[in-house]
């Protein structure tokens, strides 16, 4: 796992993917960094221009392909760099969140929040809380699909 | 060859034994729909219904890996890469159990495609290891038309073993050595005087299908109608361009090849494809010789009833299994198309 010395790190990570808008939340995460607000390391941030660019399908794709948690973060409502992108995102992501249980995926594995570029502390709190939440849920059920497919391939010969 | 009897209650035990030595492909019914699949341990197939799908996936899977590729970088110059290609051919023997005579015939139609001038090693590896246990059709339905394509509900062609239904089981008829081998079991008992019963069911089934239209000999009519766009438009009007007809067809063989990669590894995969899809002939330049669905239907009909027969001594690439007719969401009936083609193009 570790690329440093081949030994397992002291903490067991889970895979959490974050989609952060360039203008607010990515900047908020930067601010947290500049302020040295320490955070769990599980999250991998993908930069997008706007939360409105995050199609819910990215989230489902990630959750169905093995991500244990997905966090989308954008500008606060009314404060979108593109004025409306996060407002579209809010509707789409809320519908998605309510849809997940039907797929057998815990809705808690996905969250969407608003963090501005100045809210380094809020970012730290959010990442920490979300990471703890995902660790409480444990690994994603997507593992099962992977195994199932592997078995079917073997069965299909 | 001689007939032996398999009681219905002995079917699970027989399958259990087959399962020891080989993969068993057989129809499972879920939610009222029977479809072939590789059985899991202790799974009992349903042979009572006409399966919605054909068993062709046993020899021509819907997805298969043609080969994998792996890149290795040179340590001293990362831009120098060695690429390893490797592929794997099927080794596990398999039995298709509960195929219908039309299905067995379907495999016979695929053989010359994959085993002609160019040999497809993936198909042939599976095909060589496949035993076909067919069940004759005592109860064909209104979508069936196998006699019109040169087959019949009790046609033994292509099967290794044919099960003739009787009230409480089957009379099994070994047709090949491989088929015979499967009968060497204490589960089978002598057929005794059950043959007339089977024969009477056969007569009834054949009588039921007596009116099936003849789908053969349409080559000239097709060529005559090739340019009649109105004809093809009407024939295709209701088509929603889904893939049911080709994917359920026991004779369709068209496929696609795509690459998928992840990091320094990847694979080239082969998947079923479908001639009613717009993308089937879409060229990168934007040109598409079969832009309209009517042209694609024309090619589909042409392939089955003109081009294939022209190459294979008049045999049509259709077994009359009726699956496309049963499942088409728009009720398109290939019999009607060929009938009216033969009428109009005569």
């Amino acid at each position: 796992m570790s690329v440093v010395d081949g030994k397992e790190p002291s903490v067991k990570e889970l895979r959490i993917i974050g989609f952060l808008c360039n203008w607010c939340s990515y900047g908020g995460a930067d601010t947290a960094g500049v302020s040295r607000f320490s955070q769990p390391t599980d999250l991998r941030i993908i930069r997008v221009p706007c939360s409105g660019r995050v199609t819910p399908l990215f989230v489902v794709k990630a959750l169905m392909s093995g991500a244990d948690g997905v966090l989308v973060s954008g500008c606060h409502p009314r404060d979108c760099h593109y004025s409306e992108g996060n407002l579209y995102a809010r509707r789409r992501l809320e519908v998605l969140k309510r849809f997940l249980p039907t797929l057998g995926i815990e809705p808690e594995r996905f969250e969407y929040i608003w963090v501005s570029a100045s809210e380094g502390e809020r970012w730290q709190t959010s990442v920490t809380a979300f990471t703890e939440r995902i660790h409480a849920l444990g690994p994603s059920p997507a593992v099962k699909v992977n195994r199932y497919d592997a078995r079917l391939v073997a069965g299909g010969l | 060859m001689s007939l032996v009897f398999l009681a219905r209650e002995n079917l699970p035990a027989w399958i259990g034994r087959l399962y020891q030595d080989m993969a068993v492909f057989a129809p499972m019914t879920i939610n009222g729909v029977a479809a072939f699949r590789a059985l899991g341990q202790d799974e009992i197939p349903d042979l009572s219904r006409i399966p919605a799908s054909s068993p062709k996936a046993a020899v021509f899977p819907q997805t298969e890996t043609l080969f994998t590729f792996t890149s290795r970088k040179h340590a001293d110059d990362l831009s120098q890469v060695d690429i390893d290609l490797s592929y794997h051919l099927a080794e596990v023997p398999r039995v298709i159990l509960g195929a219908r005579p039309c299905d067995a015939r379907g495999l016979k139609l695929m053989d010359p495609v994959f085993g002609g001038k160019v040999k497809d090693p993936y198909y042939l590896a599976r095909r060589e290891r496949t035993i076909i246990v067919s069940q004759a059709c005592a109860m064909p339905d209104r979508a069936c038309f196998c006699p019109g394509t040169g087959g019949g509900p009790y046609d033994p062609a292509g099967s290794d073993l044919l099960l003739l239904p009787v009230a409480d089981g089957w009379l099994a008829q070994g047709l090949t050595e491989a088929g015979e081998k499967l009968l060497a079991q204490d589960l089978f008992t002598p057929a005794g005087d059950r043959e007339p019963e089977a024969q009477s069911l056969k007569d009834k089934a054949e009588a039921y299908l007596a009116q099936a239209p003849d789908m053969r000999g349409a080559e000239q009519a097709f060529e005559n109608l090739f340019k009649d766009e109105a004809f093809w438009d009407q024939a295709t009007a209701g088509c929603v361009r889904c893939r049911i007809c080709a994917y359920l067809c026991p004779a369709c063989t068209c496929f696609n090849i795509t690459d998928e990669e992840s990091g320094l590894k990847g694979e080239r995969i082969r998947t079923w494809d479908h001639c009613m899809s717009y993308m089937f002939t879409q060229e990168a330049s934007g040109h598409n010789p079969r832009m309209q669905k009517a042209f694609r239907m024309r090619n589909r009909i042409g392939h089955k009833f003109c081009y294939y027969p022209q190459l294979h001594g008049g045999t049509v690439s259709c077994t009359g299994c009726g699956r496309c007719v049963r499942a088409c969401p728009s009720g398109i009936d290939i019999r009607r198309i060929v009938e009216s083609m033969k009428r109009k193009g005569a």
């Binding site: 039907t102 969250e111 | 997805t63 009007a237 795509t258």
Partner: protein, 317 residues
């Protein structure tokens, strides 16, 4: 006159003004097929109304350059409204025959009930019973047992948009529990739901009949499911690809699906895929008070927003 005669005469009268009229016909006793009426003689092939199972609106987008007459049931009319609302078809090139509908029979259910249904030679509906004739038997079934699912929860037996109503409007009966099936499904554990879809999607043959039978799926040839740019899906037919396709299809229909059920009817494997679409519809109803295909004016909820969302709580971590 019977409904079928009224319909035949109505179409006959309008046919000269139209390129073609879409209705139902064919000789399958269990279900009618789309009938493309171009000449009066085609009218002879009209089928009986309880077999009008398919939704003819699926053809409208590809025929949008033509002047089309279309027969719609209440449920079908919602698809027409949705297509109009999305600007995918134009009202002036459409003439709508509205057909009040008492429900259609579901051939798949009859097939499940009767082993020899495939050999049926005739079907008749009389006073809550369905008679199916086969060469060997005559089967009698309860109509409710073989009505299409969507008919059992039908709230719109009368078309919501039409130029001409065929016969009398049907009084709307008691509105049944809309989402009983979904409630039952959601009573299962998350694990059980997950496993349910794995088993269900294993049986999918990825034939795209669900997509192509959907009146609102107009991308078709250019569907992202088949493309490499973007490359959302590989062509592999494993569960993860097939399942993701169903999710993708459902989500592209969120706020648009009218629950006409054609996806499920078209599925050759009988997979209960409408369930996902219905779940999204229920959530959209609860969040935005919106149902697709009821009117021409409202904006679909995912194409708009409110600065203050009444039913969405602000999320905090």
């Amino acid at each position: 006159m019977s409904t079928i005669d009224l319909l035949r005469e109505a179409i006959r009268a309008k046919l000269p003004d139209l390129d073609m009229v879409l209705a139902w016909g064919g000789d399958d006793p269990l279900r009618a097929s789309p009938l493309f009426i171009r000449t009066e003689s085609d009218l002879e092939n009209l089928a009986a109304p309880h077999l009008y199972v398919s939704n003819l609106a699926v053809n409208l987008y590809s025929l949008r350059s033509k002047k089309i007459g279309l027969v719609v049931k209440g449920c079908d009319s919602r698809s027409v409204i949705q297509l109009l609302k999305e600007g995918l078809i134009a009202r002036p090139s459409l003439y709508i025959f509205g057909l009040p509908c008492e429900g259609v029979v579901d051939a798949a259910k009859i097939n499940r009930e009767i082993p020899d249904a495939g050999r049926a030679t005739g079907l008749a509906v009389r006073s809550g019973r369905v008679m199916v004739q086969t060469p060997e038997n005559e089967h009698i079934l309860d109509l409710d047992a073989v009505l299409a699912d969507r008919c059992l929860r039908c709230r719109y037996p009368n078309p919501l948009i039409y130029d001409q109503l065929i016969g009398e409007a049907i009084p709307v009966g008691e509105i049944p529990d809309l989402y009983q099936d979904l409630d039952e499904f959601e009573a299962l554990s998350l694990d059980a739901r997950h496993d349910f879809w794995m088993e269900t999607m294993r049986r999918c043959v990825r034939c795209y009949a669900c997509r192509n039978a959907c009146p609102l799926c107009v991308c078709k040839a250019h569907c992202v499911a088949d493309s490499r740019e973007p490359h959302w899906l590989t062509l592999e037919t494993n569960v993860s690809q097939k399942w993701f396709f169903q999710v993708l299809h459902s989500m592209h229909l969120a706020g648009r699906c009218t629950e006409c059920g054609e996806c499920e009817r078209a599925c050759p494997m009988g997979l209960p895929i409408l369930l996902m679409r219905r779940k999204l519809n229920r959530e959209i109803r609860e969040l935005f008070g919106y149902e697709a295909g009821l009117d021409l004016m409202t904006t679909p909820p995912l194409s708009t927003f409110s600065i203050e969302e009444e039913n969405i709580a602000e999320r905090e971590l």
